[in-house]
Symmetry: C2
Subunit: 346 residues, 2 copies
């Protein structure tokens, strides 16, 4: 079966050039249909530049652009002809099977929530990211969609992530951990302690609180946190990796022997860099939306774009969303969980 | 002038052995008086083990112990004869000039707040840490004292940190940045946006919001955040550094050439490890307490303990606390700030 993947050509720091190149890589590698959504003239210009045939591409004109720094809610509401608005509408109307954007993350979250809508029972969407760890890969959710978290949001993030982790990442009975400032149940702010109680009752593979030093240790398959904390955790890790790299180069370059050593380990350094580079793992997933939305990093290059398309296709193949829906519905009918949620909202 | 530094011999993962060794290093390097607070028999045993003379040490017996995982508030309240309780009381009674503990951080924060007390006008203490950056060093506050932050807490953290940064770290007109998920003023949760407003009006060198990727870039001298976020940021960075190190070793060891390269860069790697190791920078400061309290990392070894003592002596020499008091008092009398704080608490 061929999937129809909508790709936002206007979104991202290196749009349209790198996004278009990513589309070409995806066309080579996958046999699914790519629908290019963006400013028509710009897409055509890219096609001509690469000496390709216009007829080989499906283009949907989206003449308006949402800048990377624009206010999410108002940009989506006002710019009906932006690639994000048009892409989300196509997804709602089931004219595409998934939408991939490396544009303004907030706008993509708003657009998905307002135009595509959330799955029944889901209260807030969460951005989930697959990350490299000492033992392989894990997921962290939310990394920036929701900065006003209620216990039910984080609880649902964990449920959704564990379905994805099982179906799309192949983990048997994936473990869920709650990011907190200590491992003891009594640690953390009230809302986090309430999430702890919900997971403890939910009959899932909950391993309790997880300290931030263990995010990259592979101790846990699905790490749950609020969007502010998750965003900080993620961006700190980018910053540390960069700073460490710089320190290492500075130190090595101080001496002649070090320089030779550097030459000998250069390939290893490059592989580590790639291992730590989220772009290699494709985009982030917008969990909870009633349709498949992949959000690429703003700095995505062509390879990252191709990988984001790959993630979308893989998610479709694994039929993740229908299983998430059935899990969310099942768990929200659990009498104990229902009672706890009622108490929390009282 | 000789200072009297109280050292908690019972606190820390490697107590009493490593703490005592740290005390010996500190005795060698500094000319100030060390007061060893802990279980008398254990301290005496260490002294004998090192073939030293009992008369060369000042020991204060603190027979009770607070475990690293114990509940902070209740342990401090119940264990009056613990090293933390006794140390904080000595500090309040001005029988010591500073207290250094690598024990239960929460207990130290509680003990300091309840027994030593806060400076006039300060609402909550904050844990401040000096961190390595691409351009030298910066400070981050709070990294775990306060997980229920109000705007005034974060505002005061910034004011206090900038005084420390100026007097103790020698920065001219230190810059203050607010950790947030984007640089725009409109970003983040309500309480963070309110902190932004307070700093903007306070006549300090406020550079606005700072993204977490810039914590280690050296873009800002004093980074302000709540304790939950700060704790996560810090522990993530430890985890990333460790994971990157492991990835690099794994990759390098795959080939013969890499192994030779590794030998040649080993010294550089060690130096980077030291550069990224907070222990090298001594302990964290408990800002806002009316006395000097230094909190060492739980995993502190002898060198980290010695460095924590060094930080205490340096803070005393720089007379940081009296300047913090006068700054807090000045700024809380500023009519604009007063009005904003009234509006916020209304």
């Amino acid at each position: 079966m061929k999937y129809r993947i909508g790709l936002d050509i206007s979104g991202g720091d290196f749009a349209p050039e790198q996004i278009f190149k990513g589309a070409l890589l995806a066309k080579q590698e996958f046999h699914d249909d790519l629908i290019l959504i963006g400013v028509k003239e710009e897409i055509e210009e890219q096609i001509h530049k690469h000496n390709l045939n216009l007829n080989d591409f499906t283009i949907i004109d989206a003449p308006e652009k949402i800048g990377m720094g624009e206010s999410p809610a108002s940009s989506v509401r006002k710019k009906k002809n932006s690639s994000i608005s048009i892409g989300m509408n196509l997804l709602r109307e089931k004219k595409i099977d998934a939408f991939v954007s490396c544009g303004n993350t907030g706008a993509a979250v708003c657009g998905a929530t307002l135009q595509v809508g959330l799955m029944e029972g889901v209260e807030r969407p969460g951005i989930a990211l697959v990350i490299p760890t000492k033992k392989g890969i894990s997921m962290i959710v939310d990394v920036g969609a929701n900065i006003d978290p209620k216990p039910i949001h984080l609880f649902q993030y964990g449920i959704m992530a564990s379905v994805y982790s099982h179906l799309a990442l192949g983990k048997e009975n994936p473990s869920i951990g709650l990011l907190n400032i200590g491992e003891e149940e009594s640690k953390g702010p009230d809302y986090v302690r309430n999430v702890h109680k919900l997971f403890s009752e939910a009959g899932v593979n909950f391993i309790g609180n997880l300290e931030a030093k263990d995010i990259f240790s592979g101790k846990c398959d699905c790490i749950v946190c609020d969007g502010f904390v998750g965003n900080v955790a993620l961006k700190v890790s980018e910053g540390v990796a960069e700073t460490m790299g710089k320190f290492l180069l500075d130190e090595i370059k101080k001496g002649f022997i070090g320089k030779i050593g550097l030459l000998l380990i250069m390939n290893s350094l490059k592989r580590v860099k790639r291992l730590m580079d989220y772009a290699e793992y494709g985009g982030a997933l917008l969990l909870g939306v009633d349709g498949i939305v992949i959000i690429g990093h703003g700095r995505s290059n062509a390879i990252a774009v191709k990988n984001a398309v790959k993630v979308a296709i893989h998610e479709l193949k694994c039929n993740v969303n229908s299983e998430i829906k059935s899990n969310i519905s099942k768990i929200s009918q659990d009498p104990k969980i229902k009672e706890m949620l009622n108490d929390l909202s009282a």
